[in-house]
Symmetry: C2
Subunit: 190 residues, 2 copies
């Protein structure tokens, strides 16, 4: 028997037709056995402000994010590349997530296996993914090394209606999720 793994997946872009949101949706469709995936939209998170937190605790949207993170065995992030790095939207979400839980436990990011992928232009989010790999250790996240999943010219993988027309995208994301399952079970010892 394989032990169940629950993954929380989110994209670093807010627009409805975001390619990176689509990548998360594709991941949900190619999960290996005993893996489930919840998709989380980062839009309800306010900009991080320590005053907010001190005055009235974590805002509602942040509490929901914390709860979904805490319930996950592993994380999946699809990052766009904005200005040679991850988006402010994604960094802001990680900044909120990095805060200790309301009950004093460590951040819900702590000790989480993390798979990264991204779809972009000519370099396919390579620079954004490097910055994300720099950031992850601060919260003791364990980033999967391989496969490295960069979708170069991601726009051309979809038709005008948003349907996936490049089958290698599904294949590579399936490989990533399989590797994340293996990595997660290896880290927790079963």
């Amino acid at each position: 028997m394989t032990s169940p793994i629950h993954v929380l997946g989110f994209a670093g872009s807010l627009r409805k037709a975001s390619f990176n949101k689509r990548l998360i949706t594709i991941a949900a469709d190619v999960l290996p056995p005993a893996m489930t995936l919840e998709q989380f939209d980062l839009a309800p998170l306010p900009l991080y402000n320590e005053d907010l937190e001190r005055e009235s605790g974590l805002p509602d949207g942040v509490q929901q994010f914390h709860a979904s993170l805490a319930a996950a065995d592993a994380l999946l992030i699809a990052t766009p590349e904005y200005n040679f790095s991850i988006s402010g939207v994604l960094k802001n979400a990680l900044d909120w997530a990095s805060r200790a839980m309301v009950d004093g436990r460590p951040s819900p990011l702590n000790d989480k296996p993390l798979a990264i992928m991204g779809g972009g232009g000519r370099l396919g989010t390579a620079r954004a993914q490097m910055h994300l790999r720099d950031i992850a250790p601060h919260n003791n996240m364990h980033v999967l090394n391989t496969p490295q999943v960069y979708f170069i010219g991601v726009r051309s993988a979809f038709d005008a209606d948003g349907n996936l027309i490049d089958p290698t995208v599904r294949e590579r994301i399936a490989q990533l999720m399989e590797a994340l399952a293996h990595w997660t079970r290896r880290l927790r010892g079963f």
Copy 2:
């Protein structure tokens, strides 16, 4: 005669008593001759969403930010370090700033001289500043190389009422602004 230089300064933290906001305020107090500084608060910027921009153009707060950037001869950023990088708040502001002007001109960040400083804990925002240096070239900003201004243990530079008690902070920021003035005049040739 020295030609006038107008600087736009902003901090990557939103809390009222932010140490990095205080560093910008100190900069405004130690400017070299013929330099002026406007402080900008990043709080009114929404999270970046390309849908917003397509549906109704740049939001009001973003337009004000663009206008202040465009009016500046040089930029000054005081960055905190969150999770080994710049804050999501700062990255989000740069993501908005990186968008082309409404009238089709390049981003108002284009070709701007930029001075960086930061106040933080044990490493004084060194990692955040490195990420900011990675990001700056995307918009053709020209980052001042020296002096590198990292305030390690910045909290101890102020008393409980927020008054600066470490005179070296003023001195180092004054050196930074002097160097920014020189760098700006050198780049524009007068």
